[in-house]
Amino acid sequence: MTGLNTIGRSLLRDDQDVLDGASPEAARVSSGAGWLKTVKSIRPGLVLAWFVMAVVVLWALFPQWFTSYNPTVGVARQQLRAPSAEHWLGTDALGRDLLARIIHGAGNSLSGALVAVGVGLLVGTTLGIVAGSARGRIDGAIMRGVDVLLSIPQLLLSLSIVILLGFGIVNAAIAVGITSIASFARLARSEVVRVRASDYVEAAFGSGGTFGRVLLRHILPNSLTSVIAFAALQLGWAILTISTLGFLGYGAPPPTPEWGLLIAEGRNYLARAWWLTTVPGIVVILVVLSANRISQSFGKARP
């Protein structure tokens, strides 16, 4: 429900052909060697992004490594404690350790985002590839369907689906995934069409390639780079949207630790316990920023 998708939708299109128009001489210069170049090309921002993602994935897989507190059962008389050595991020109104809830919440948020991206990626990309390679009427029909999906604002569409499927984190994730089908389909189609128009695909047909072989050997590998980059971007977007649905109360039911829900619960103690809302929000921002940064690096990395 932020601009992530807008960016994805409108920008991934014209990113491909940025050539060294300004100074061919400059591009030529970069013929140096070896590992030294690799070391120099490491970007600290990207390393940090991967680090954040790795930590969050570990939180999701092995929360017990990081905290010994129970995320759902509070400790009596420890309510609304400010951050301290004992509770690094403080406690909530039921005396539950906030850090423990954030760490245990990673699993819910991350798996929800993966389900959402999985739905969009599988269904959307398939539709896009079919449309782009079949062309003609099938293409027209699929893309009109995509237009219709795009015409309904994503949050409203996901709310409609949530009503249909019922509340809960998996349903919310599926709903979010369905709303991203259209973007994936559009991107995949435009990539397939772009690659199909290239000389090397024509050359592959010209050297006797059958449609299936050319599709597998050239069209898919060359189209999917952008789709993968977009999927990483969508991962961040899905985390955000799922947390929004959680905040609105359509995701995980309490007392499940889920990042959006954590913020919603902390809202009642704004005056007394700032950490309850602020910290989970910062965690969400860091994770989403990291996903975006990683997505960017996919987009640029070409073999």
Partner: protein
């Protein structure tokens, strides 16, 4: 009217009809009669006659295709059905909640345009590359921020810490300041990013070098050549931005407890009030389609390349 215009309008109508159908299938067809049973809820205080009216209005006793056609006809005549929760016509509910959201959305949109243009202009004029890199990274941060969290943070800072805006009974303008700010941030980010990218792209165009070779300064080039070429393509995301704006309004109104279309949406989901939600979905799809139609039809006015050549000699 040219054939293109008629075709484009027809296409828009088709998309709108399909969006209606999708929302009908999603919301009304599947749960079926179960929804109408809710009208029997004594708390609504509806008499048997009123319930019979509502049933007739939905053609609830007819088979699904008839119900569908009935709903289409109702929508076309401006009858959007009845709220299950409130028992009043949906049209009245939307009309009552629309003004608040319109204010919020238009002010939020204006502010987001101002922020986006300011960021883009600052990055284009930045004298150092590190400063430009810094300005260009701001939208990424905006985009990654959950809107609801931002709203809460603003309340915390401005209402609780600084005590600039009272939490209870703020004035009509005071009540809008934080929501507008909250809404503007996520909308400004994609706008700013697209503007920045377009500016960077246009600056590499050979015609910019030609302008510099004429003796034009960097500022002259930005203003006379880059601005229009960079702004034009952003028009095409108008429809998508509208969707973002509406989604942002839903969340913002939820955070600030405002009554508007967003609040109505949230309540309709909570109450499973599908008639209301469907009307809102169709309403926003209609607005989306209309915005895109307008952009498409107006684009040639701004971009001479899309104008039909009038007897131009090659």
């Amino acid at each position: 009217m040219s054939r293109y215009v008629i075709g484009r309008i027809g296409q828009a109508a088709l998309v709108l009809w399909a969006a209606f159908t999708v929302s009908f299938i999603l919301l009304q067809a599947l749960p079926g009669d179960a929804i109408l049973i809710k009208f029997l809820n004594p708390e609504l205080g509806l008499g048997p006659e009123q319930i019979a009216d509502i049933r007739a209005a939905y053609a609830a006793d007819s088979p699904l295709p008839v119900q569908y056609l009935h709903t289409v006809a109702n929508f076309l005549t401006g009858n959007f059905g009845y709220s299950i929760h409130a028992g009043v016509p949906v049209g009245d509910l939307i009309l009552a909640n629309l003004p608040q959201t319109l204010w919020l959305a238009s002010l939020g949109f204006l502010l987001s345009v101002v922020v986006a243009v300011a960021l883009a202009a600052l990055s284009a004029l930045a004298p150092f590359s590190w400063l430009r890199a810094f300005i260009q990274s701001i939208p990424a941060l905006f985009i990654s921020t959950p809107v609801f969290w931002l709203g809460i943070l603003l309340i915390q800072i401005f209402s609780f810490q600084l005590r600039l805006i009272p939490v209870i009974n703020p004035g009509p303008w005071q009540a809008l300041v934080l929501p507008v700010l909250t809404l503007a941030v996520p909308i400004s980010a994609p706008l700013a990013q697209i503007l920045m990218r377009n500016i960077d792209h246009v600056l590499t165009e050979p015609f910019v070098a030609v302008a510099r070779a004429k003796g034009a300064s960097h500022r002259w080039v930005l203003w006379k050549h880059v601005a229009k070429n960079a702004v034009l393509p952003t028009l095409t995301i108008g429809g998508i931005l509208f969707g973002e704006l509406l989604a942002g309004a839903v969340v913002t109104e939820a955070v600030f407890g405002l009554n508007g279309l967003g609040g109505l949406t949230q309540r309709s989901v909570n109450d499973q009030d599908v008639a209301v939600l469907q009307a809102i979905v169709v309403f926003s799809a209609g607005a989306f389609v209309l915005i895109n139609l307008t952009v498409d039809l107006l684009y040639p006015v701004f971009d001479p390349r899309l104008r039909v050549k009038q007897g131009a000699v090659a």
